[in-house]
């Protein structure tokens, strides 16, 4: 694995992660996202529907808890993933982890039978079975609750470093992991000194990259996150990739990229799907020949209608973001337009809002399938446009476009 950075613009790193996969022939553009899976499959999708998506990320994400659902290494090849690159995380970011189950020597994951306690040895045995191309080391990330004490944060950093050292020893001894890279995990909660300490210490170890933990959306404010990631990033070697866990909203992605993050998970489109919503924010900064030369588009031109955040939907999910539309809303009952005009996903090329609305109202399975296809396509398009904006020095235009649907922008 090699990270080839082509430029750094306003804090954003642009490049290519190469040398991935069995024969090293796969690569992943950075900044970018991994392909989120649940039990080794992209939620709602089979191979046929999945492959209607173009430009799928070459790296698929699985998590340790999945191993306990399917408990066999061959599961990976039967899931149709054998030809892909795998990253293994400890947890599934779409599920919240119950707190209070971390000890000095163990962390816990939840499988179909309940809670499973993992020592570093057991954790590494699982990695040897899954044989991911890269994986995060075992870590204590339980610092996200409000009011976590300094002492607890310090313990999380210490434990995580201890786990890393133990995992590194086992990694060297494990034949099956010869081709795999281990990523160190940076902890530290919302305490700057601890973040710096964790980063510096982790950077001393022979890891292939870094996973930034404890930054997920519920854990801290955007501003705090950005400050801490910037500071952390400065302590990490430039030539090694940085992946942040638990961050998925477009605005949070952008600010993390500006703070020095390279890789993200893609659980966010799945969460949007589960609440019956479709990503609809505009990320296209190419000038429309018809309006070029006129003033910048106003909020009212956003996808041709008012952004969802400005109206109170009776069916609104409290987790709904300004970047999505709630397809369960009655207003879509007879709306024959595609979900997003100009989107080339299967759902938008074939179907209309009215039909998807009907599927959601009648609780039909196809609703989830179509929304997942659209949301993944939209999210991947967002990342692609982000990379193009960085490449062409138009990051500010891009931010204006994506972020302008928020209140006060």
């Amino acid at each position: 694995m090699r990270l080839e950075l082509s430029r750094a613009v306003q804090g954003c790193r642009l490049g290519l992660l190469t040398g991935l996969g069995n024969t090293g022939q796969h690569s992943l553009e950075v900044p970018g996202c991994l392909l989120y899976t649940c039990c080794a499959t992209v939620p709602h999708l089979t191979q046929d529907t999945l492959h209607t998506l173009r430009d799928l990320p070459s790296v698929t994400q699985v998590s340790v808890d999945m191993y306990f659902a399917v408990h066999h290494m061959l599961m990976v090849s039967y899931a149709g993933l054998h030809d892909t690159v795998l990253f293994c995380s400890l947890h599934d970011s779409a599920n919240s982890i119950p707190a209070g189950h971390v000890t000095n020597k163990t962390v816990s994951v939840w499988g179909s039978g309940g809670r499973i306690e993992l020592t570093a040895a057991r954790f590494m045995a699982i990695q040897a079975a899954i044989q991911p191309d890269f994986y995060q080391s075992m870590a204590d990330g339980e610092t996200w609750q409000a009011g976590t004490s300094r002492k607890r944060v310090r313990k999380a950093v210490d434990r995580t470093l201890a786990h890393l050292d133990e995992c590194l020893v086992l990694h060297q001894k494990t034949q099956e992991l010869k081709q795999s890279e281990i990523f160190g995990v940076v902890e530290g909660g919302d305490i700057l000194e601890e973040r710096l300490r964790s980063a510096r210490e982790t950077a001393k170890r022979p890891v292939g990259g870094f996973v930034l933990d404890g930054f997920h959306s519920a854990a801290m404010d955007q501003d705090v996150r950005v400050q801490l990631i910037k500071a952390t990033s400065a302590e990490l070697p430039q030539e090694k990739p940085r992946l942040v866990l638990g961050v998925g909203r477009p605005d949070e992605v952008i600010s993390c990229v500006e703070a020095g993050v390279d890789l993200f998970e893609s659980f966010f489109p799945f969460q949007v799907t589960e609440r019956g919503c479709a990503l609809s924010f505009n990320y296209n900064i190419d000038p429309d020949p018809e309006t070029a030369g006129t003033s910048t588009p106003t909020v009212l031109e956003f996808n041709g209608e008012m952004p969802a955040v400005k109206k109170l939907n009776s069916n609104g999910d409290e987790n709904m973001t300004p970047y999505e539309m709630n397809l369960k809303d009655k207003r879509y009952h007879d709306d024959f337009r595609p979900l997003v005009e100009g989107c080339s996903c299967y759902c938008c090329k074939k179907h209309m809002r009215s039909y998807v609305h009907h599927l959601l109202v009648t609780n039909e399975l196809l609703g989830g399938v179509l929304l997942m296809l659209h949301n993944m396509a939209h999210y991947l398009g967002f990342f692609k446009s982000l990379r193009e904006a960085i490449t062409s020095d138009r990051l500010q235009d891009f931010k204006n476009r994506v972020l302008h649907c928020r209140e006060g922008d």
């Binding site: 046929d48 024959f336 009648t362």
Partner: protein
């Protein structure tokens, strides 16, 4: 919308095949390609407004304008040429006005092949405690909002006209085949009267085919009387109804063969509600051409995969480490790529498991009905 089929016989090709328009203006043509010398089985090409259908045919049921998690592209790839929509459910949600605005059910769900809609009457049997039948129609109490709805033959046809299906079913007075006594006869006569009302109410006889439904329960006399009456009407096709509701197998087969005996040879026969593979083969031998059942898709959602030797309950522990595909001889996308063990595990965490099994089950049913090849 496809143009009506010309109702002429000059498309005859050779002496083996006979082409006959089934009625002067109906958009349906049945060409009998082969007939079994021993049984009453026949293989036909049924030409409908959207495309040709090879019979015997098994029609998957897409109740609410969707086939349980399968995209229309996947359905096409499975060689499905016709599937079902349910008038009652679609009439409730999203309603006929919207579907008509969306260019019919074809336009709404973007299915370019054939659609068959039922009358909405089957819900009478399945939701029987909610209904009252009078000469006017059936009164339901809607499970969605508790309101009382009266479904008349005219209204059923009006909704089906809005849906724009290639084949529509008459509204019939359905009684379960386990019911005995005068109610069965009353229902049979009423179904004949309702057939006439449906024929009169059909706004699109040039684009939509109205099928009659033979009733009469398990009473040979009543069934024969119904056959005599209904075959006097000039409808493009017939369904055999009032069966598969839990009757004894012997009684079931007798009624099927009695029906096919007295139905015109040159019109298609649709046996409603038969879905178990064994029944399918027998009923083809008895002269039936078209079949439907929610069973394959419904059972898929409970983790049950259909195989020639029965079914596999994939949620059972024994499949957790079984790395064979559902059926090693099956060529469907699910069997080509996935193992029983994978599906077993996936079932616990994601809806995709149901989709995989649904695809297999539909493929299995469609292939089984490729008895066409063997006749």
């Amino acid at each position: 919308m496809a143009a009506p089929i010309p109702g002429s016989t000059h498309e005859c090709e050779g002496s083996m095949a006979s082409v006959k328009a089934v009625s002067s203006a109906a958009p349906l043509a049945l060409r009998i390609v082969a007939e079994c010398p021993v049984s009453k089985a026949r293989a036909c090409t049924l030409t409908l407004p959207h495309c040709a259908v090879s019979t015997p045919v098994f029609m998957p049921v897409g109740t609410q304008g969707t086939l349980k998690g399968i995209t229309v592209d996947q359905l096409e790839d499975l060689d499905c040429q016709i599937c079902l929509g349910n008038t009652y459910h679609l009439g409730m949600r999203p309603g006929p006005e919207l579907i008509e605005k969306a260019d019919g059910l074809h336009g709404f769900m973007k299915w370019n092949r054939n659609l068959l809609t039922d009358s909405g009457g089957f819900q009478m049997v399945s939701l029987v405690e909610l209904s009252e039948v009078t000469e006017e129609g059936v009164t339901f109490r809607s499970p969605y909002d508790g309101k009382e709805i009266l479904l008349t033959p005219e209204q059923s046809i009006a909704i089906q006209n809005s849906l724009g299906s290639d084949i529509m079913m008459q509204l019939d007075d359905v009684v379960s085949s386990t019911v005995k006594g005068p109610r069965v006869e009353e229902a049979m006569h009423r179904s004949v009267r309702w057939l006439d009302r449906c024929i009169a109410a059909n706004k699109n006889p040039d684009r939509q085919n109205l099928f009659a439904i033979i009733q009469g329960g398990l009473d040979a006399k009543l069934r024969k009387a119904c056959l005599d009456e209904m075959t006097k009407r000039d409808v493009p096709g017939f369904a055999i109804g009032g069966l598969s509701g839990g009757e004894e197998k012997d009684d079931f087969w007798k009624m099927v063969t009695l029906s096919t005996e007295h139905l015109p040879r040159e019109k298609p026969r649709y046996l409603m509600g038969v879905g178990y593979a064994l029944d399918l083969v027998v009923c083809v031998a008895l002269g039936c051409d078209m079949f439907d059942c929610v069973f394959p898709t419904r059972t898929a959602r409970f983790g049950s995969a259909l195989v020639p030797w029965g079914s596999l309950q994939l949620k059972q522990k024994q499949y957790a480490k079984d790395f064979q595909p559902i059926d090693p001889d099956c060529q469907c996308p699910t069997c080509r790529r996935h193992s029983r063990a994978y599906l077993h595990a996936l079932f616990k965490s994601d809806t995709a498991a149901m989709h995989h099994i649904t695809i297999h089950n539909i493929s299995y049913q469609v292939i089984s009905s490729c008895v066409f090849e063997h006749i």
